[in-house]
Structure formats: C-alpha cells, structure tokens
Amino acid sequence: MSAAAVFGDDVQPALQVTGLAVEFPVERAVVRAVAGASFSVRRGETVALVGESGSGKTVSALAAMGLVDAPGRVSGDVRIDGQPVLGLREDQWRTLRGRKVAMVFQDPMTSLNPAHRIGRQVAEAIRVHDAEVSRHDARDRGVALLERVGIVPAAARARDYPHQLSGGQRQRVMIAMAIANQPDVLIADEPTTALDVTTQAQVLDLLRDLQHEMGLALLLITHDLGVVAGIADRVVVMYAGRVVEEGPVDAIFTSAAHPYTRALLASVPRVGAARGALRAIAGSPPNPGETVPGCAFAPRCSLAEERCVAHVPDLRPVAEHHRAACVFGDQIAAGRLAP
C-alpha cells in the first residue's frame, strides 16, 4: 500500500476517535482511564495502539465498541464510517457491533463459550445479524469461515468444543466470529499475548491477510513492539490515558520524538544490539485516580523542567504525519537531545 493511500488525509477514517475521555467514579473520586485521546484508523490501514498496562488502550477500544458499562462515563467523539456513535442506544449499537466494528479479545481460552461447539458459535455470529439465514446455511457459512481462518478440516473441527482446540486455533475461531459479518473496523486487543511465539506469528499473518483481503481498518492493541514492527502501518503511543506520540511505524522506531516512546524502545531486547543491561523505565505510571497538572510522564523523565509540569503539552507535528506531545519533541526526533 502506498504511503499516500495510507496517510492521505482526504480519506474518511473508518474509525475516528477525537478527544475521547472515559471516567469511572469510585468512592469519592473519579478515575480517568482515558483523558482526551485522539486517533483514527482508515480502511486498509493497520494502526498499533501501544502502551503499558493501564495506559487506557483497552478502555479506548471498549469505548469504540460502546461496551463501557455504567457507571463508566464516556465523552468526546467517536465516529465509525463518519457516523457519530457515542450516545447511541443499546439497540442501535447492536446493529453496529459485528457489522461495522468487531473485536478480538486477548485470551482465546476464555472468550469462547465452553458449552457450545465452535461451529455453532461461528454460525451464531452470522445469525445474530441476519435472522433470515437458516440454521443450515449459517452452519455452512460458519464452516467456510473456519476454513478461511485456517481451521482444517473445517467441517469436522466445527463439531469440536473449545477445550479440544489449542490456543492458536481458538484465537482463529474468535477471528472467524469477528469477521463473520464483514465489519469495516476490526479491533484486536492483544490478540497474541496469550499465545506462544510461533503461534503468535501465524495469527498475525492471518490478521494481515484478512486485512488486505477485506480492506479492514485494523486497530491492533498491543504492548509488544515486535508485533508492532511486523504488522503496523502507523503507531499510536498512549501513556496515562493520553496519546503521547503517533506516526508511521518507521518514524517511531528510528526517530521517536517522545521520551516515553524512547524509553519504551530502550526497554526491549534486540537481536544484534550491543550487550548490556536493558533499561527499565524508572518509577511507575501515575495512578489514574490522581490528576497530574502537566505531562504525565514528567516525574519519570530525565528532561523534565518546570514548563513540563505546568501544563499538558499538546500533540505537535515533529515531521510529516508524525506528532508528539513533548515540548522537546523536535529536538528528540532530530537526535539533538537524548532523554
């Protein structure tokens, strides 16, 4: 895919999230799991949403599916194919889920219903949206979907129960269910975290193939930078509920502009890199219940100065299609300043 098509600003994003905030009231306080995140995914594009645990990745995705339950509060703007979806009624959401936007969860061990055969579960995904389809047709289409995601021999395996499948196969079944109604947007929440390494690669290959074939807008939530390098077109880095950097995958890996992204990259072992201790990021992320006045990363950042804690830095362009929320963004990206 050409860079123009991937980064063309004229194309309407399949998923556009603007100023998303998700809050959960707890005893006499409010936890802001997401504090004003903005990102978008176009058709045919794979965007990796990266960040450590608690950075708001999964909650952002759930908000985009309309799955944040009360008492959680969602504000901002989420558009799926241009249609604003926040504030939709539950029955309106149901027509979107599966058909416009679908999701694959982290743990395939628990996301399949242990009481039903997998063929029936895939067929159910079809029948949920099309009551006209007969049981028989739904079953046949379900078998075809299983075949497509690499469960062979599909007709025989369709009669298996989830516990008879390996983790990778179960994740394939989850993917089959997610694509059953040709959604425009597919959100994959750490789809390979629970799998072993060889299986991870196969599942990622499958996702990439399906994405090309169906022109999916794929939002891949992960904390695995290896996965990011292998599959993503663009990367969105989240920290403490905010987007701190976004840009093309190459730019992120070669000239990351945010100290947090740099630190994240430095904490991952690389083949061929000089031997030495991996650099863990000092300190820990802020408690989501506390509100930090300035940059949330400032307390852990070696470059932090007074203006960093004074107010939250905006996302500013540091290169074409590459933005970072750091006052030193330009200098870090250019290599003039090293955190």
């Binding site: 599916m65 799955l67 149901r94 027509t95 979107l96 889920r97 599966g98 058909r99 679908a102 999701m103 969860f105 743990d107 628990t110 996301s111 399949l112 219903n113 242990p114 009481a115 039903h116 055969r117 159910e124 995904a125 949920v128 949206h129 469960i151 062979v152 021999p153 025989a156 009669r159 298996d160 129960y161 516990h163 008879q164 499948l165 390996s166 990778g168 196969q169 989850m174 269910m177 997610a178 059953a180 109604n181 060889t198 299986t199 196969q202």
Partner: protein
C-alpha cells in the same frame, strides 16, 4: 473414523495443526461436551450410582410393580390387622388394607409431586435468578427481595391457611384443590423456588463477567440471546444439582406436612399421611410406621446421593482425567 484416542493425542494433533502441518488423521477426540464429561464422572461415583439404582427400583415399584400388588382399598374382613406376612409383605393397616399397596400408591402421589415441584421451582428460579443476576441494579434488588420474602415465609402457617381455603378457582384454567396433589405441588413450589433463584443469580453474576459474554456482545448479540445461549447453558450443572436436591426436599416437606395434616388430604394416600394414624399405635402396629418411614428415608437418602454425585460430576476440580 472413530478411533478412540486419549486426550494427549488430541492435544498433540491440535498443536501440529497449528504449526501449519496437515493433521495426521481426522481422529475425533473422545472428550465431548460438559454433559458427556459429567456423565462419565457420575458413572464412576459409586454411592450415587447405588442411589440412582435404588430410585429406579422405587419408581418401577410404584408405577409398574403396583399392578401386581393387592388392591389398596380392598379390606380383608376375615383377617385382623397383622404384621408382615407372605401375602402382605408390609402387613395390613388398621382397616386390614394391604400396606405395601398403600405405600406404592402413596409413592405415586408423592413422587409425582416431588418431580412436579422440582420442575416448577426450576422454571421459576431460573427465570428470576437469571434476570436478576444479568441485569443487576434495581432489577436484581427488587427480584432478590421478592425471593427473600418467599424464603422467609413461615411454611407451616402458610400451608395451614392455604389448605384450609380448599378449592380455589383459577378462572379459565379451572380450579385447584390446594389440599390435593396438584395444589400441593404448586404450594410447595412457591415455598421452595428461592434457593434455585439464588444459585442461578450467583452463577449468572459471575458468568456475565466472562469474556465470552463480552465477545457475544461485540458481535451484536441481544441480552436475551446472551442469557439463553451463553449464561444458562453454563449453569446447567448447578441447576441440575439443585433440582435434584429439591426432589428430596419436596418429599420430606410433603411427608412432614401430610403427617401433621396440612398436606395431602386423605383419602388420597401419600407417604406422609400414611404415617398420620400409624404413629399413635406404634406399639401395636409398628410395621405401619417402620415400612413407610423406611421408604421415605431411603428414597430421600438416595436422591441426596444422586445430588452429591451430580455435584461432584459437574465440579471441574474433582474431575478425574479420562
């Protein structure tokens, strides 16, 4: 192909398939669904199997064997009331009627009642429990307080009043004699559905947080579909166990109430009301107490054994690997 293979080779095949290799053979794993697994575990539960055999025997005796027993109403005027004999295995009662025949006929009434109560309590309890657990919030609060109300209801005064009302009209559905078998089934169901509702609510509360419920929501499933397809099939274990235990409870409660005169009213025989008169003459006609009493005791014990067996069978922690 229907080769039987163990779990390990099934797992091994799964892995090899994942590595992109063609499976070596299309052998189906012998492990089926939860029900089949539970059935296998149940069959290995000796005490439960003994209980089940005894129950089958009691049922056959009450519903089939009864045809070969003497009439329960025929009075043998030539014979005085006497103890067990070759002609009358359980002896004869104070009106010289065959006690065995009366126990078997009473068993028909009591067993039908117990099973009816189990079915009815399950329907009410599952419905209320699933809705309360799934929707939570004020729905849960309302339904569970309603459940508490029925659980807290003092059984004896409630039944005494209900039975004294006698026949009530249900409009187009006809009328029900609250002191008869059908009336008692309904009354006991009203008293006993609470525990099933609580069990199902608890199971639903935990099941609704499972990821496959979220997954079902992400494909656009409605709440009703989620309850039917994803929540209830996964609490069939506790539901079955509870229904079984309700059978035992219903037999005991019916016996107690009929014995006290609040239950099924004579001349309809039931295990409970067989004991009513017998107990006052226990020194002379001990067999009229011992035999029906033993039948009640053993049947309830057997039902409880089966219930224990089912509970173990559905408990994954106790599962022995095949």
């Amino acid at each position: 192909m229907s080769m039987r293979v163990g779990d390990e080779s099934g797992r091994a095949r799964a892995e090899s398939n994942d590595a992109g290799l063609a499976p070596t053979a299309t052998v189906r794993s012998p492990r089926g669904g939860e029900w089949r697994r539970a059935l296998r575990a149940f069959r290995r539960h000796t005490v439960a199997m003994i209980g089940l055999c005894f129950l089958v025997f009691v049922f056959l005796a009450c519903f089939v064997g009864v045809r070969f027993a003497p009439s329960p109403t025929e009075q043998s005027l030539l014979e005085a009331t006497h103890g067990p004999s070759w002609d009358h295995w359980f002896g004869t009662d104070e009106l010289s009627r065959d006690e065995l025949a009366r126990v078997l006929h009473g068993g028909q009434v009591t067993l039908k009642l117990a099973i009816g109560v189990a079915i009815l309590t399950t329907v009410i309890g599952v419905l209320i429990g699933a809705v309360a657990g799934f929707y939570r919030g004020w729905v849960d609060e309302l339904l569970m307080r309603f459940t508490d109300l029925w659980i807290a209801l003092p059984a004896l005064p409630f039944l005494a009043v209900a039975v004294s009302i006698g026949t009530v009209s249900l409009g187009p559905l006809g009328s029900v004699d609250l002191g008869g078998p059908l009336g008692m089934t309904i009354l006991l169901s009203l008293l006993l559905w609470g525990s099933i509702a609580r069990v199902v609510r608890g199971a639903t509360l935990s099941l609704r947080e499972r990821e496959f419920v979220d997954a079902a929501r992400t494909i656009g499933s409605t709440n009703r579909r989620i309850i039917w397809r994803h929540v209830l099939p996964n609490c069939l274990g506790p539901i079955t166990v509870n229904a079984t235990l309700v059978v035992a409870e219903a037999i005991l409660v019916e016996s107690t109430l009929s014995f006290l005169g609040f239950g099924i009213q004579p001349p309809t025989p039931s295990w409970g009301n067989l004991l009513t008169n017998a107990i006052s003459n226990i020194e002379d006609t001990w067999w009229l107490v011992v035999f029906p009493g033993a039948v009640i005791f053993l049947t309830v014990l057997a039902v409880n054994f089966v219930g224990d067996g089912l509970r173990d069978a559905f408990d994954p922690r106790r599962q022995v690997r095949a």
